[in-house]
């Protein structure tokens, strides 16, 4: 039976959703505070000070899975010269450094939406044979899944469909997202039926039996 961790699934989905240009993962290189996180990888002489403002900084793992693991905060300031991100409101506990503080930077959707999409694709796609990954679970806990690539198609269908409802987007972008979620849905449905073996009922119109 295939297995994976939520962190691996979420990062794979985010990379596909946003492209590697805008979705970033990293490790804090110096001790931060409850409102700052420092990573020298973010130092840039090209990026503007607004580059990451509005992004979600998500603390994905910490030592012993303690806070602020699992907390997401919106970036309110970015200092390109030092690679420092400031968030508001504050994390509940100061951000650490090194392996004690790995993070993800999500440009648009709240990371909770990605976790919800993973659970939905897992439960809905398996006809509830697989249970959702509990929110309290450590992100690095191994969980049984039906197939990583197929699960990702289901989660991307969920996310892009929800994203396409955003009336602030222009009609062309919404149409593009709609085309994409339709394609993800077809891939997911086909993968579930042909590769995993989850059959769906055939609906028969009255009078045609």
């Amino acid at each position: 039976m295939p297995t994976s961790t939520r962190i691996a699934i979420r990062q794979a989905i985010a990379a596909k959703l946003y492209g590697s240009d805008t979705f970033l993962t990293g490790t804090a290189t110096a001790a931060g505070s409850t409102t700052t996180m420092v990573d020298t990888k973010l130092v840039s002489t090209v990026a503007g000070a607004n580059q990451y403002v509005g992004y979600w900084l998500y603390c994905d793992t910490t030592t012993a899975s303690a806070a602020p693991e699992g907390e997401a905060r919106m970036v309110s300031q970015y200092a390109p010269s030092t690679g420092t991100l400031t968030v508001d409101p504050a994390f509940t506990v100061a951000v650490g450094t090194g392996t004690a503080a790995t993070y993800e930077l999500h440009p648009v959707l709240h990371p909770d939406r990605l976790n919800e999409a993973i659970n939905w694709a897992l439960e809905f796609g398996s006809n509830e044979a697989y249970a959702a990954i509990a929110q309290a679970d450590d992100d690095t806990t191994t969980n049984a899944i039906y197939d990583l690539d197929i699960l990702m198609e289901g989660a991307l269908y969920y996310l892009k469909q929800g994203w396409s409802h955003d009336q602030r987007l222009d009609p062309e972008r919404r149409a593009e997202l709609t085309e994409q979620w339709q394609q993800h849905y077809e891939n997911w449905k086909r993968g579930l039926a042909e590769l995993v073996g989850y059959r769906r009922p055939t609906l028969v119109a009255e009078g045609s039996q």
Binding site: A72, S76, D88, L109, G162, H165, V204, E206
Partner: protein, 213 residues
């Protein structure tokens, strides 16, 4: 294995997540407040917070706040938002103080409308067995199945507020959810007669035209 039951809150949350995936705040747990205000400035309970230096003070205005655990009225509309304090000011007043309890933000569709649709879909899916549903009533239909039916209703409702390509996209998606609702009902073994009638209803040109009004 029996299918899991659902209650109103579970189905509402499922629908909110699907409708407003692009929104940061959908559900949360308050850290303070009263009958005319809702505060969440810590995010300690669930990692979600209403406070943000990045939002504008116009965000949230016009949205509905729904607090399931208070006495009726559980619904109120956001009239003011203070981004620094993470406070939503509500009008009219909720039926009781809403401090430190779970809340929902309904951005476009009034929560009572969602509850109506859940009731209608529950009645249809149960062949009339579920007539009245309270907040904690266990509905013998999966939340995922009910969410598909309610999403079809919600998308049609939203489509009527749009015009041009946006409306077409909404109608197209509503039809997709209607199909999934029927498939999921069949999967749960719920009243195939209703399923067949629905297929017929959905596939007629007349039904397609009627849904637009």
């Amino acid at each position: 294995m029996a299918w899991a039951t659902a209650n109103l809150q579970q189905v509402r949350v499922e629908v909110l997540r699907r409708l407003y995936a692009y929104r940061d705040n959908i559900t949360g747990t308050g850290s303070g407040g009263g009958s005319v205000s809702l505060i969440e400035d810590t995010g300690t309970t669930d990692g979600v917070t209403l406070e943000s230096a990045v939002y504008s003070n116009n965000d949230f205005i016009g949205a509905w706040a729904y607090v399931p655990s208070v006495a009726a009225p559980k619904v109120s509309r956001v009239t003011q938002y203070d981004r620094d304090a993470g406070t939503l000011t509500l009008s009219p007043a909720l039926g009781a103080t809403a401090a430190s309890v779970a809340y929902e933000i309904h951005w476009l569709i009034p929560p009572d409308r969602l509850n109506d649709w859940i009731l209608q879909r529950s009645r249809e899916g149960s062949s009339g067995a579920m007539v009245t549903i309270a907040e904690a009533t266990a509905i013998n239909i999966s939340k995922f199945t009910l969410a598909e039916g309610v999403l079809a209703d919600a998308l049609r409702w939203l489509a009527k507020r749009e015009s041009g390509p946006g409306r077409q996209l909404m109608e197209q998606e509503a039809a997709h959810h209607e199909q999934l609702w029927l498939e999921r009902l069949a999967l749960e073994g719920l009243n195939p007669l209703v399923n067949r009638l629905n297929v017929k209803r959905e596939q007629t040109e007349a039904a397609s035209v009627l849904r637009r009004f």
